[in-house]
Point group: C2
Chain length 350, copies 2
DNA sequence: TTGTATGCGTTATCAA
DNA sequence: TTGATAACGCATACAA
């Protein structure tokens, strides 16, 4: 059981109890709590002693009122992908578990015309010390501006730098996609299909650019019939698969902009009696659980989402603590994605 | 943009501004905010008028301090399944979006020996009005007791009633599993395998009981070689599949206690050149994204997780508002799961 | 380096 | 049905 020495009358001890026991004023106790520099080692120790024996824990509500800021960090997202959001949360928690911050989660609706007002009201009320924006809403500049206006620190998460280093954590989708597609080409593939992510998503654009860069580097072109639109959903993958695999000269490989759509393409291949990877190589993106659950296991790109969550939270915290601003400046805000080879890729037949 | 009539000096208007404008005391304004009954309609209206024109929003931090309670509800979980957690969150948000509650998310580690202390400290500090416990930690009675001790309302989510109706939202896993397995039997299957969930999980036990009930009802038995342990992970499904499908007389169908393991079994079937469902019918549980991403699409049981989230949150809120306690008592806390037939089930060969 | 007085914005007490 | 005043627990300005 938790050892709670208890103040008086079973209630939680307050700063007053600590002050009384240590024989100092509450302000001095406050200074110790907030790590003020102007404190003699002696009094600091005696105060810490009292805090210890009393089992005193500062009341976050009172601090929030006085600070005009809640000791929370908010995660704003539009539920693009459950695993992504949850992995990110996990990373955030890794970073804040030893602080006394807590995580506030706020799903929003990017399609709503009240999105901006919703977020503004939320931040005004909750007053978190910082907010983290997950893609795709991280790409919304108005949202960032709202944070700025309200004095809420923010970090935008994206597949490419969206803001200055202080306000952004990103991966390098473009490069890694180019690398992955390059391997396809090295294996001998010449007709390589592409399934795109939704219009207006930066991640979709980045992945496409990486794809095209790899093709260009090898002097290959992308015929229209091997280019399919998509929306990151399974059904879009199915549609793209049906279209491409019905071609007279179908592709021997395809890069699909996320795993879920890749699963759709693979289903179509199975349905048509094609063998993956013998008849068709497939590469996805995300390294979601789906990637390993389907058969054969999908080669894909792992997004360092947990690390990004941790990094985003650390940036916010360091920024908040001020002094520790080093953490935010030292680290490179671009975190590398990695290509993961599994069973869905092989040289083309013949 | 949000229409904020603003108090004075660009800052947020406070209760004092409202009181001044309406010509009443702040306590009266407070009464209006908190829907006290002892207010004349006339003053109520004039106060509401002032609130409106000022664009006043009560400061949650101040209220939290005075109420000794934060206007938050906490979600405690042990990350069993990303989709489940996120769907649940979505349901919670459906329920609280018109209140001024916010959602605090707290992943915990059920393996840690500090679990209880962690949760206690978290609740002591954050002082949410209520907490929701997701399985498997919802099965931990000590956790419920901690909530009770701290005066934090709680709701436990499970696959069977874990507590009294006021503190529990559950599904009816057992019945639905029995129904699903019954269909297998009706199709003519006689050798049906079973892959279990992890020991100590109530959901695993419920599903097994449902499975056995269906078998018993048909006078069938479960040979040892068709019973496999598992842990809800893909690899456990693979192991179970390898074992069962290497048998001299393999099963013609298998019920797997969750989708992820079912995907593992299906991979093994594919690898052995077996056709699903012609050679092997498979049923999973969860209706996770995986169920539709694999090929063929998996017949499974849909857990009403979003509805449960919504229900859990409404219970907490109603309980908190006191008056509206009806919501908590009227509704049946058991929410039905449903069997979903897709392509992974067919009659046995021959 | 430390203490005093006061503020943060709301609710509770108790009297009017 | 209302209001004056005291909590709520901590932080800040300004003194000492």
């Amino acid at each position: 059981m938790a050892a709670r020495a208890g103040g008086q009358g079973g209630k939680q001890p307050t700063i007053n109890d600590v002050a009384a026991m240590a024989g100092v004023s509450k302000k001095t106790v406050s200074r110790v709590i907030n790590r003020s520099e102007f404190i003699s080692d002696k009094t600091r120790k005696s105060v810490q002693q009292a805090i210890e024996t009393l089992g005193f824990v500062p009341n976050p509500q009172a601090r929030a009122l006085a600070f005009r800021r809640n000791f929370l960090i908010a995660l704003l997202h539009d539920n693009p992908n459950a695993q992504t959001v949850l992995n990110f949360q996990q990373g955030v928690l890794d970073a804040i578990k030893d602080s006394d911050l807590a995580l506030l989660v706020r799903p929003v609706d990017r399609g709503s015309d009240k999105l901006l007002d919703d977020v503004r009201l939320f931040l005004e009320k909750q007053r978190p010390i910082g907010a983290m924006l997950l893609p795709p809403i991280s790409e919304n500049d108005d949202l960032a501006k709202i944070c700025e206006d309200l004095g809420v620190r923010y970090v935008r998460v994206g597949s490419a730098p969206l803001d200055d280093a202080r306000h952004c954590v990103s991966s390098n989708d473009r490069e890694v996609v180019a690398e992955a597609v390059g391997k396809l080409i090295a294996l001998g593939h010449r007709r390589i299909g592409f399934v795109r992510g939704p219009a207006g998503f930066r991640s979709a654009a980045e992945r496409e650019e990486g794809f095209r860069a790899a093709l260009a580097a090898a002097g290959l072109s992308l015929p229209d019939e091997l280019y399919a639109p998509g929306n990151y959903r399974y059904t879009a993958g199915v549609e793209a698969g049906e279209a491409m695999l019905s071609l007279e000269e179908p592709p021997t490989a395809v890069f699909v902009s996320n795993d879920e759509m890749a699963a759709g393409v693979m289903s179509v291949a199975h349905g048509k009696g094609l063998s993956v990877p013998a008849d068709l190589s497939i590469i996805g993106f995300d390294d979601s659980p789906t990637a390993t659950h389907i058969w054969p296991a999908l080669s894909t790109v792992r997004w360092p989402i947990r690390e990004m969550g941790s990094r985003a939270a650390r940036t916010l915290v360091a920024d908040f603590l001020g002094s520790g601003a080093k953490a935010a400046d030292d680290e490179n805000p671009v975190m590398p994605s990695t290509f993961i080879e599994r069973q869905s890729v092989a040289p083309p037949r013949g």
